[in-house]
């Protein structure tokens, strides 16, 4: 006894492409015949939704302009973060750049914190307890325009899995990321990071 039709053979059967050999089985197998008939009925039912509402002729007249406008818009939007995607090894560099952006942000926030002026109105008391702390000016903690632009530009490119990868402690993650870079890529990355940090501090 031959085996019942397979999934692919059922499709061939409803489309009239079954081999002679398998057609012979179908001719004598009631179960397969029932299945073929059921599938054919479904295909007929699908025909009920064959027609689509046609958009107005105006839509087609304007569609091309719409596409062209979208293409122009794509070309005009500068991708602040895209420049480094074109670098060789950019895929591997992205993880390290992400880590670098986070570190850079922390460094800048710390630098701003440390730059906060001491309250000049209070006389310095040599005998004051060492645990007395100076409360920095709250406004000084807010990143300036250029600084924020640098950080937000780098952060814009972060994707959720990048953030998770960076912030989730994992053994040797940084070493692994660095290990993926070639020597020249590492040098390029460090040069770029330095340039961005300098630009961000100005």
């Amino acid at each position: 006894m031959t085996t019942h039709l397979s999934a692919r053979e059922f499709v061939d059967a409803i489309e009239g492409g079954l081999t002679v050999d398998r057609q012979r089985h179908l001719d004598v197998c009631a179960a397969c015949q029932t299945e073929v008939e059921t599938l054919r009925t479904i295909v007929v039912d699908l025909d009920s939704d064959a027609d689509l509402p046609e958009p107005s002729p105006l839509f087609w007249e304007h569609f091309q302009s719409r596409v062209n406008a979208a293409v122009r818009e794509e070309a005009m939007v500068p991708s602040r973060a895209a420049w480094w995607r074109t670098l060789p090894g950019a895929g591997a560099m992205r993880t390290w750049l992400t880590a670098g952006a986070t570190v850079a942000a922390l460094v800048m926030v710390t630098a701003i914190y440390l730059r906060a002026p001491v309250d000049a109105g209070r006389p310095v008391d040599a005998g004051a307890a060492l645990e007395e702390t100076v409360v920095p000016d709250e406004a000084a903690l807010v990143l300036g325009g250029a600084e924020w632009e640098f950080v937000s530009g780098m952060l814009e490119t972060l994707q959720e899995d990048d953030v998770r990868r960076v912030l989730t402690p994992s053994r040797n993650a940084v070493d692994a990321a660095m290990g993926n870079l070639s020597e020249s890529e590492r040098k390029t990355f460090l040069r770029l990071l330095q340039a961005e940090m300098v630009a961000g501090m100005e």
Binding site: R8, L46, Q64, V71
Partner: protein, 197 residues
Amino acid sequence: MNATSQASEATAVRATHLDLTSAEDRVLVAAFLAGSHDAFNVIVARHQRQVYQICFRFVRNHEDAADLAQDVFVRAFKGLKNFKGNSTLGTWLYRVGVNCCLNRVATKRPATEPIEESRHVDQRADDPLRAVVRGEKAAQVRRAIAKLPPKQRATLLLRVYQELSHEEIAGILGSSVGAVKANFFHALRNLKRLLQS
């Protein structure tokens, strides 16, 4: 520039445009890659309906279908340099379109059928009652198709409504012909179960 040379330049432009509109797809692609934006416009005009239709089949409303179709051509504009000519341009555009649609349906599922769809009555039937019944059936079919797994849905739409061959669908979905047929079979079986429930 005198009138004669202006007229001959206009004639040359028209002739070039006519050449493009009658050119085969691979010629248009070559012209586009050589810098002809007109060639891209001809590609859009030639394939816009097919792209819009497959997008509409996925999202079932005009606004989203129009946005998706636009997105497909923007991606085509950027990606045509990677078109190797192993398939037809139409098949390649279907692939871009299906990928856009699959990404879209994965992130955004419409809660209900748009009103314009549910009121769409099949004009083919002479009998008004038959038209209403057919319209209801079509609505049931649409709801069932929307519940299919994405690849089964894509296979079914491309095979039944866009009438592509299994080989073309395999190229679009990155599958084998056997896998396409199996997907199609399971799509039909799932539809049977959904329509009966």
